[in-house]
């Protein structure tokens, strides 16, 4: 059986990739995908612990996260399309009207 720590290290690597992608990339869609990556890294942690300790709540929580991620994807993509329509760019550095 694969030890728990392997899952956790994989999860941490995935999460770090997500964070790095989020911070480095400028394209909103890539950033969006990085977010999904981080969410799923967390999901992996949840299910690993749930399998380890035979606790059901971890599994349930993963479903909730998936639902939220789906909803987020729907709303987020709508926003991205709307931004692209008005500004004709997906470069996040140029979407900065809310700054002081």
């Amino acid at each position: 059986m694969v030890p728990l720590s392997y899952y956790l290290v994989l999860s941490a690597i995935l999460f770090a990739c997500g964070v790095a992608g989020f911070l480095i990339k400028r394209n909103i869609i890539t950033i969006f995908m990085s977010i999904e990556l981080m969410l799923n890294a967390v999901n992996l942690t949840f299910v690993s612990f749930a399998a380890e300790w035979r606790a059901l709540s971890g599994h349930v929580f993963v479903f909730f996260v998936m639902v939220v991620a789906a909803a987020e994807a729907a709303v987020g993509l709508a926003i991205i399309i709307s931004v692209f329509r008005t500004r004709e760019t997906l470069n996040v550095d140029r979407v900065n009207l809310l700054k002081l």
Partner: protein, 671 residues
């Protein structure tokens, strides 16, 4: 039985309120009616009170009336109440009587002035505060009157407030008095601390029961601090400097406030506090020394002054010195006697000088007067009476009072003080007759008939009523002069000493105030008991001798003035040219103002400017406020850059924060 003494001060207060609030729209006659009516009513009521008072049995004196509690703080409480004994009765009659006479005179003097209603409102409010001071039954209530007369004095000195010198003189008077009041207040605090009350009767009774050994230091401190207050109010060394400047006010004000009544408040306070001073011989000695020094110091300045009102101002300072000299040898009766006669003759002198100034369209320099005898006969004769009175010629009032002071000073063993007093008396006679000769004799030296703008006290008046040269004053001004002249003549007869066949009635009248409350101060035994019948023949003959010396001193002063300012009028100028540094020093009033300016005022201004203003206020307080504002701005300016609008930097901060939290949790261990 109540005498309803509260009516007396409230009458002038009502007059002041009506005139002050509504008088602007009143015709002059109505202002006169209200101001003079309220004062006259107060005087009449005071006379009625005097009659009733004399009918009181001895055990009901002092007559104390309590109206209401004023304030309570812990065990201390003060009340509104009045205290009538022989001393306050004398003061009451002098203040209301002389005050009324000067009100009458003011009608004529101020006739052409702007602010007529304002003047009378101030004058009435002065009467209110002065009567409060005199009638109060505790020190705190007295202090209300004490400060109130200072306020009235300030307002009236600066009556012509558009003139810088008048406004400054008012400020000087007020601030100098603050210094004295500071001492007086501390004396009151000491009394509260040790006796828990400021009621005259309670404090004096407690004093009598207080062990002598325990009280000496305390009472000396209280006495000296009270004397500090008295030097301010009564213009003694070292705080006399405000009084000569106070002559910027209208002349009737000088007569009423700065000669007859307010400046004697210090003497009244010392006499009122005689149980304190009787048990504090050092304080008493200080009073006597300050009084004597002031008497001769001011008299010597008066000799060389050329402004007629300044001469009289220094004369007032000097005469107040005599009063303190009397009080200082525990002869309070003599001091109060001189206070009363001084109120008559000095008020008369000021009113006469006012008549002269009025008639000469504001001229105050005696070098521009002369020969006025022909133009102003009434003023001349009343002034003559006043001049002979102040110089101490018998049988006029000041002869008896001044002589009594000098005699009791000698009898108390203070022979040096007596000698200084006699010399000052000779100086008094000299400068007064100098004034008299320069003003009324010789040829008129002023400008001939002048029809242009006309004003008193160098103030530009608004009315031009065609004055042509010196002229006699209207009746409304002459009648007060005559009343006061009569008082100058007969005023002293109430206190003819036993040695002259009288019975010292005035002293005996005041005896209950000064002799019953506490034992005498050591060293004042002889002065204290002249009335107890041990004045044998030998002492009487000594007293004749001293009267002779006093009169001789006055005569020397008279002859000196006669020789220099009547017979050989060229001599003073020559002497002045040949005179040395001392002459210049006296002419410059010993440069006391300059001395105070250099040693006290300049350092205070410098310290205030550099430490208080630029140091503490501008740097510390303003600096703290400005710096905290600037600091907040700097911090915000730094934080502002975090909000760049760059989403990735926000995300970086979030990641950074999360990393910090995780690191912290790892480091501390997760629970």
């Amino acid at each position: 039985m109540s005498l309803h003494l509260w009516i007396i001060p409230l009458l002038p207060l009502a007059g002041a309120a009506i005139n002050g609030l509504l008088g602007k729209h009143f015709p002059k006659s109505l202002v006169n009616t209200i101001a003079l009516g309220s004062t006259a009513a107060a005087f009449a009521y005071a006379l009625w009170v005097a009659v009733r008072f004399l009918g009181l049995p001895a055990d009901q004196i002092p007559h104390i009336e309590r109206y209401a509690t004023w304030m309570t703080a812990g065990t201390f409480s003060a009340e509104f109440g009045t205290y009538l004994d022989q001393l306050s009765l004398v003061m009451l009659l002098v203040v209301s009587g002389v005050g009324f006479v000067i009100h009458i005179y003011s009608v004529g003097y101020m006739e052409h002035e702007g602010g007529y209603y304002r003047y009378f409102a101030y004058l009435n409010i002065f009467m209110f505060f002065m009567l409060t001071l005199v009638l109060a039954n505790n020190y705190l209530f007295m202090f209300v009157g004490w400060e109130g007369v200072g306020l009235a004095s300030y307002l009236l000195i600066g009556f012509w407030f558009l003139k810088d010198s008048a406004a400054n003189a008012g400020k000087k008077a007020f601030i100098t008095n603050r210094v004295g009041d500071f001492g007086f207040l501390i004396a009151l605090f000491l009394l509260i601390k040790h006796f828990g009350t400021l009621q005259y009767d309670t404090v004096f009774k407690a004093l009598a029961a207080y062990p002598v050994e325990a009280s000496a230091g305390l009472l000396t401190a209280v006495g000296l601090l009270m004397m500090v207050g008295a030097t301010g109010k009564s213009a003694q060394i070292p705080l006399y400097v405000w009084l000569p400047d106070a002559m910027e006010g209208p002349t009737p004000v000088s007569a009423l406030i700065h000669a007859a009544t307010m400046v004697t408040a210090g003497v009244y306070m010392v006499a009122r506090s005689n149980p304190v001073f009787n048990r504090a011989p050092i304080a008493l000695l200080v009073v006597a020394i300050i009084g004597t020094l002031t008497a001769i110091f001011a008299a010597s300045i008066g000799i060389l002054q050329t402004d007629i009102k300044k001469v009289l101002a220094y004369s007032t300072v000097s005469q107040l010195g005599y009063m303190f000299m009397g009080c200082g040898v525990a002869a309070y009766g003599a001091g109060i006697f001189h206070l009363m006669t001084h109120a008559f003759f000095k008020a008369l002198l000021f009113l006469c000088s006012g008549a002269i100034i009025h008639s000469l369209s504001g001229e105050q320099d005696m070098r521009n007067m002369g020969g006025l005898r022909k133009y102003m006969p009434y003023t001349f004769w009343t002034m003559t009476i006043a001049t002979f009175t102040i110089s101490g010629f018998p049988p006029l009032a000041a002869f008896f009072s001044k002589d009594e002071i000098l005699w009791k000073t000698w009898a108390s063993g203070n022979h040096v003080l007596w000698l200084i007093g006699v010399i000052a008396a000779a100086m008094t006679a000299f400068y007064m007759f100098r004034l008299w000769f320069m003003t009324f004799f010789g040829e008129y030296r002023g400008a001939p008939a002048e029809n242009s703008g006309h004003g008193h006290d160098a103030h530009d008046s608004h009315g031009n009523h065609g004055h042509a040269g010196p002229h006699e004053s209207p009746m409304v001004m002459i009648v007060p002069l005559m009343i006061l002249a009569v008082l100058c003549v007969v005023g002293g007869w109430v206190g003819v000493p036993a040695a002259l066949g009288g019975s010292d009635r005035f002293d005996h009248f005041l005896d209950p105030v000064f002799h019953s409350t506490a034992e005498r101060a050591p060293g004042a035994e002889t002065a204290a008991l002249p009335a107890e019948g041990h004045e044998d023949h030998e002492e009487a003959s000594t007293e004749y001798l001293f009267m002779g010396i006093s009169v001789a001193a006055a005569a020397i002063g008279f002859l000196g003035a006669w020789f220099l300012y009547y017979k050989r009028t060229d001599l003073p100028t020559k002497m002045a040219e040949g005179a040395g540094g001392l002459y210049r020093l006296v002419l410059d009033k010993y440069r006391i103002d300059e001395l105070y300016g250099a040693t006290i005022i300049q350092p205070i201004i410098l310290a205030s400017t550099n430490i208080l203003w630029k140091g503490i206020d501008a740097t510390l307080i303003d600096g703290a406020v400005n710096e905290s504002a600037a600091g907040a701005q700097d911090v915000s300016d730094g934080l502002r850059h975090m909000q760049s609008g760059n989403i990735r930097s926000y995300a970086g901060w979030v990641a950074f924060g999360a990393a910090v939290v995780i690191a912290f949790m790892v480091w501390r261990g997760v629970r």
